[in-house]
Subunit: 316 residues, 2 copies
């Protein structure tokens, strides 16, 4: 498995990226990494590590990073480290891309270089969260800020396929994140999405209706929870901080990265504030997804689910 890692992605890049790459190589002897970025950025931190540095790490030159204040579309520029990494993925030179940089730029780069799954309007970032009742898939956690009801329906289809393939959830129960469990609650987006989600003839999964913030923590009502990327991002970061602040928070070992669902390649996004261990966890997640061919199998499963969702959407 060959994974490209964005050397300039994240608040503490490139140092934590180099650290994370080294940790990931140490933990997985069948891994090859390609660090993508300007040659000087790679040289300085890696010089420190050179003695213990693995010959399973190579470098791919790119001109510059994406500034955190730049528009997302800048990620699609082939001169950027994330743009270069995605082109390597599209060309089959690597099996996956991992970045702790701007998620908007990573999504833009992925959509332009490797493309969306057929019929999908928008990709979504999916996180696996620990709950009192087992793992839960939360999506979107930051790929799309302005979404329509059809996006939430398509993401529910992607999320159930991902839950089954990557989180071992055999019979996903889908919940729509809202402010009450009654159908009339929430904003216009949630009310319309609830109607559409009810109309989908789900197979091997169930739509349980609107769920609330506490259901993301308890996991009792649903284990695939869909929401817009704004709400999901705010919620994920708050829960991560709550877990970190509490030694007794009931968390299992969950991956410290979110998977971009709906593009024709394996892409994992780490937190901007990722540590070396977080980057290593994201790389390990990407390797696991590649080895189980999750993206390929998801594309095949999701096309049927999307067709059903699309039929339901146009008929309501």
């Amino acid at each position: 498995v060959r994974i490209a890692v964005d050397l300039l992605g994240g608040d503490h890049a490139p140092a934590v990226v180099v650290d994370g790459a080294q940790q990931a190589c140490g933990a997985d002897s069948d891994l090859e990494l390609v660090l993508v970025g300007p040659r000087p950025a790679a040289d300085e931190p890696t010089a420190v590590h050179r003695d213990g540095w693995s010959d399973r790490v190579s470098f791919l030159d790119a001109e510059r990073g994406v500034d955190m204040s730049a528009p997302a579309a800048d990620g699609a520029d082939p001169r950027t480290s994330i743009g270069t990494a995605m082109l390597a993925l599209a060309a089959g030179r690597v099996d996956a891309v991992v970045s702790a940089g701007s998620s908007g730029a990573t999504v833009a780069a992925a959509v332009v270089a490797v493309g969306r799954l057929s019929g999908l309007r928008r990709p979504a970032l999916a996180a696996i969260l620990p709950t009192l009742a087992g793992s839960l898939v939360l999506l979107d956690v930051g790929a799309g800020m302005q979404v329509k009801p059809v996006d939430l329906v398509q993401h529910a289809a992607l999320g159930t396929a991902y839950a089954r393939l990557a989180a071992g959830i055999e019979s996903p129960r889908i919940g729509l994140l809202s402010v009450g469990s009654e159908p009339g609650k929430g904003d216009k987006l949630r009310r319309a999405a609830d109607t559409s989600l009810r109309a989908v003839p789900w197979t091997d999964s169930t739509y349980v209706g609107p769920v609330e913030g506490h259901d993301v923590v308890t996991g009792g009502r649903a284990n695939v929870i869909v929401t817009d990327g704004f709400t999901g991002n705010v919620l994920l970061k708050a829960l991560e901080a709550a877990m970190a602040a509490s030694s007794s928070y009931p968390h299992a070992a969950v991956p410290r990265g979110a998977t971009l669902l709906g593009v024709a390649g394996t892409v994992v996004v780490c937190h901007g504030a990722a540590s070396g261990a977080d980057v290593a966890s994201g790389v390990a997640l990407a390797a696991r997804l590649v080895r189980s061919d999750v993206v390929g199998r998801l594309a095949r499963r999701a096309s049927a689910a999307r067709a059903r969702a699309w039929l339901a959407e146009v008929s309501t």
Copy 2:
């Protein structure tokens, strides 16, 4: 202090409301409570408690409750328990109203019966949260689902006044909840609100810019955090569940109710799933707000802050 309590508000009403009223009376010997609802609803659970029941509790008859699936406007119907309670507040027969019922219905009833503060577009529900760095005011946590940038600016003004008067925060730092700390991040609403918030000539408080989900937990960057009622409600319920799931979560004793800011009366909303202790905590919060004349002082402070915010809004 005389407080009206909605006998039919909440998932477990009227039993937990009666329980909460009794706990509140036991804890505060200067409190008088008026339970509002249909006479039979009051009789059954109170019969159990009659022996220990305080003569500081009276009853106000109302025909029916608001069904959780009814539209919010139903709360303004004077035949409902919340509508009757708000009319008693408007008439000066009680000093405050506490309800664990539908927050939409409570907001509608308050706006119709007691009215909004002059110039305010929408009231907001404000919660006080424990953080690693002290108390934090989060608003809106559920009053308004569809908001405009001007609402977030007005809520920041209300929130800073409330932080000072009710949470003892002397120099509030205002943050706009978003998905990154850079101005360009987030959806259209956040980008426009960020521009407006920067243009306000804040006095005795500071706008620190966009903040992220983890800042609500750490409290390090801001202690008044504004967001739309959808995001705030989802986030508050998730954090409450995270605190409950963790014995070591660093929470101080914070009130278990949110205060409705921007109406001309003291109104506290408890969680729909409130326990008796939660209702008692909401009643205690209402009593404290009445005794410190928080709503009256907030109206006087907020009018100046709102005028500044309004000027900034129209000039950008």
